[in-house]
Symmetry: C2
Subunit: 426 residues, 2 copies
C-alpha cells in the first residue's frame, strides 16, 4: 500500500477540518483509496489549539525547517492564508521537493508562476483545488474532466459572503448594511469584510479559474472588479419584478476579440441555473465547445467542505506520483500575446430619478438613441409628487457607449440622478 506523510501548516478553521478528516478517516482511506495517510506533524503558533485537536508535542514542529527536514513528510498542506509567512513556507517546502497542497487563493493568484517554477525545479507537485469554491471540485473538473473542450465561458458565484448578503437583501428586503451585519453575526463575513464585499476574493478565484479554463495566464490586474457595497435594495426589488436576480458573478469569456474577465454585480434571468443558487452556496457554470453547458454547485467555504478539497488533493497527490504543470506560459505578467477586451459588451439595467413632467421619457430615450444604445425594456414609476423612477434595460452594447449615455443623462436638468447601473448576463 502506498504511504504518504502529511504536514499541516496552520490549524485555523480549514486546518482543523483537514486534520480531522485525515485522522478520523485513516482506515477508510486505506480501504477505499489504497493509500495510508499519516499526519506526521503540524506547524501552528497556537500550541493550545494543536493540543485541543489531540496533537501531541512530538508532532508540533517548531519551524518550517523542521517540517521539511522530516523525511516522513511527503506532502505539505498550507492553510495559513495570505502572502506573508505562507509564501515563505510554501517556497521552502517546494525547494525541499515536497509536494504542496494549498487553499490559499491570494498566494496562488499573486505568485503562481514563481511557485510553479520552484516546484518544477524539484519535480514537486503543486495542488490548489481548495483555493477556489471550497468543496466543489471545479479545478479537478477543469484539469481532468474538461480537457476535450475549448472552454468558451465561465460564470460563477464564487464568493459565499456576498451571495449570502445578496440573497438576504432579495428575500427579506434588507439593506446592504443590515444584511452585512447579519452575515458578520453568523460568521459568514469577516469583521473587516473588504476582501469579500469589494470583490477581491472573487477576483483571485476568477484569475485562477480563467487561467485554467482558457489555458492562458490571467493575472489579477487583468480582471475588472466591482463589489456589492454600492447595491441598493431598490434595484434588487425592481430587478425581481422584471424577472431578474442579482448575483456577484465572476465572468470569463474567451472570444474572437480577446479574453474578457470581470467581477461585478450582475442581473441574471430568474430561470438561469445560477439564479437559484442562494445563501452561502457557490456555483460555477461553464460552456465548453464539446460538452456544451455544465454547472457545478456546492459549498464554497467551511472547515469540512474546504477540508474535503484539500484531502482530495492529498489523495490525488499520493496516488498519482507524477504531477503535470500548467501547459500555458505562466509568467508573473501573463503572456504578452493574450489580447484582452477592454470595452466589453453587455446588457445594462439603468435606474434614473427624474422630473415627472411631460416629455421626459422622450428626451431620455433620445439620448440613448443618439449614443447608439438600443433599449429593450422601459418601466416608469411615479414615486412622489413631481418625481419618477425610470428603469431601462438595454440591448447588448459596448460599455463605453453606456458611459457616454450616462454622462449625457446626468447633465440633463430633468434627470436628478443615475441611481443604479447594473450589468446583465443572459
Amino acid at each position: 500500500m502506498k504511504k504518504a506523510g502529511v504536514a499541516i501548516l496552520g490549524l485555523g478553521v480549514v486546518g482543523g477540518g483537514t486534520y480531522q478528516i485525515l485522522t478520523e478517516k485513516k482506515e477508510y482511506f486505506k480501504k477505499t483509496q489504497g493509500v495510508d495517510l499519516t499526519v506526521e506533524c503540524v506547524l501552528e503558533k497556537n500550541i493550545e489549539r494543536a493540543k485541543q485537536l489531540g496533537i501531541d508535542d512530538a508532532r508540533i514542529a517548531k519551524s518550517i525547517e523542521e517540517v521539511v527536514a522530516n523525511p516522513n513528510v511527503d506532502i505539505v498542506v498550507e492553510v495559513i492564508g495570505g502572502t506573508g509567512v505562507a509564501k515563505t513556507f510554501v517556497t521552502t517546502a517546494l525547494k525541499s521537493g515536497k509536494t504542496v497542497v494549498t487553499s490559499n487563493k491570494e498566494l496562488f493568484a499573486k505568485h503562481w508562476p514563481e511557485l510553479e517554477a520552484e516546484a518544477k525545479k524539484m519535480n514537486a507537485g503543486l495542488f490548489f483545488e481548495a483555493s477556489c469554491v471550497g468543496g466543489v471540485p471545479i479545478i479537478r473538473t477543469l484539469q481532468e474532466g474538461m480537457q476535450a473542450n475549448k472552454i468558451l465561458s465561465i460564470k460563477g458565484i464564487i464568493n459565499g459572503t456576498t451571495n449570502y448578503i445578496l440573497t438576504k437583501m432579495a428575500n427579506e428586503g434588507s439593506s446592504y448594511e443590515e444584511a452585512l451585519k447579519e452575515a458578520q453575526r453568523l460568521g459568514y463575513a469577516e469583521f473587516n469584510p473588504t476582501a469579500d464585499v469589494e470583490g477581491f476574493d472573487a477576483t483571485y478565484k476568477l484569475s485562477i479559474l480563467s487561467s485554467l479554463a482558457f489555458n492562458k495566464k490571467i493575472c489579477i490586474e487583468n480582471v475588472y472588479r466591482e463589489g456589492i457595497t454600492g447595491i441598493n435594495k431598490e434595484d434588487i426589488a425592481y430587478g425581481k419584478e422584471m424577472g431578474y436576480t442579482l448575483k456577484l458573478l465572476g465572468i470569463g469569456k474567451d472570444t474572437e476579440n480577446g479574453v474578457e474577465v470581470r467581477v461585478h454585480p450582475t442581473f441574471v434571468k430568474n430561470d438561469d441555473p445560477l439564479a437559484s443558487v442562494n445563501d452561502s452556496f457557490n456555483a460555477v457554470h461553464l460552456v465548453g465547445d464539446a460538452v456544451g453547458e455544465i454547472m457545478l454547485y456546492g459549498r464554497g467555504a467551511g472547515a469540512l467542505p474546504t477540508g474535503s478539497a484539500i484531502v482530495s488533493d492529498v489523495i490525488f497527490a499520493a496516488k498519482h506520483d507524477r504531477f503535470f504543470y500548467a501547459c500555458f506560459e505562466n509568467n508573473e505578467k501573463g503572456n504578452k500575446e493574450t489580447k484582452f477586451v477592454g470595452d466589453f459588451t453587455s446588457k445594462y439595467y439603468i435606474r434614473l430619478s427624474v422630473k415627472d413632467t411631460a416629455g421626459v421619457l422622450s428626451k431620455i430615450s433620445g439620448v440613448f438613441a443618439k449614443n447608439n444604445v438600443s433599449i429593450l425594456e422601459v418601466k416608469q414609476v411615479a414615486v412622489e409628487e413631481g418625481k419618477a423612477q425610470i428603469i431601462i434595460v438595454t440591448h447588448m452594447c459596448n460599455e463605453s457607449l453606456v458611459k457616454k449615455t450616462l454622462d449625457k443623462l446626468e447633465s440633463l436638468p430633468e434627470v436628478f440622478a443615475v441611481q443604479g447601473t447594473i450589468r446583465m448576463e443572459d
Copy 2:
C-alpha cells in the same frame, strides 16, 4: 511529449463525435495537455460512414484482432454499445494489455467485475466516464474529487429521454403518449423506447454510480426499478399545484440500515435544485459527510458531450500511466456482506377516486391511521357528479405499510380506484 495511439470501435453518433474531437483538436491537445493523440484505426462495418468522416482505407481495420495487433494502438475506445460484440471486443483489447475507454453502461453495469479482472491481469486501464451522464464528469468527481468523503446519498436525473418527456408533460399538459411521440420525432427517444422509459438505462447508471459512491458493488439486480409509462398528466398537474415537480430519479442511500438503491418517478419540491433540471438535461446531487451537498449539471447524451467524456478519459489515460482499480470487492454478485434495505421509507403522494358522500374522508383517513401511515397533507376535489378525487401526502413511512394501506383502501366500497401512487423526496 507523451504520444498515444487510439483505436475507435464503432462510428455511430458517439464514435463520430469522438473521432471529430480527437482529429480536429490534435494540435490543441499537444499545446494544452502535452499529449499527442493519433487515431490509428477504426473498426466499423459501415465503410461508407468511415469514409464520410474522412478515414482512409489504411486506417479501417478488418477485425478486432487487427486492432489489438497494431503496436501503435495504446487505447481502445469502445462505443458500439450492448453486450454482444462490444463485450468480445473489449475483452480482447484488455487481454492484449490495451487500455479501454468505454461509453457502454449496459456492458459495464452487467460485466464490470469480469472486465476489471481481465484489465488487472495485464495492468491495463479501464475508463468509463462516458457510461454515465454523458458530458458531466460525475465519475471523475466520485473517483478523484470526492475521495475525502463517505458519500451518504446520490440522487440523479440520469436519463435525458424521460426527463424530456416529463418536462413536456409538466409544461404543456401533454399525455405520456403525446410527449413520447414528440421525443421520438426529435430523436430523444428510440423507436423502441423501453430501455429509457422503463428505467433500465437509469438502473445501469445507478448501479455504476452507487458502486463508486458507496465503495460497494451494487448489482443491477439490487436496484428497485419503476419506469414512467404509468404516469398520468393529472398527477403531474396536482403535484405542481401542491409545490412538487415530477422527475425520474435514480436514488442511492448508504444508511445505517443498509444500502437503498432505486429508480422510480419521484416528486421533488419545486425549490429542490433537481426540480429546475429540464428537458434532456441531466444532474446528479451528492451528499458527502465532509463536503455536504454538491450538484453537477449538464448534457447527459449527444455526440459531442459524450465524446467530451470519452476524450477526457483518453487524455487522462495518456497522462497518468498508472491505473487504479476500484478498491471495493467487485464480484459479479456483489459482496455478500452488503445489506440492502428492502422495505425503504419515503413520503408518498396518493390519489384516490372516491364516492363524493359524507364521511368518506373520515373513513379513508381511518385506514391510514390504522396502518400507522401518518398524513401530512390532504386535498379533496369534486370532479363530477357523485365523484371526488382525494390526494393525500403522507409523512415518511415504510413502503410495506403504504402497500397494506392501499390494499385496504381498494377494498372499500367508497373507493373506485387508487389512481396514482408516487414517492416523494425532500
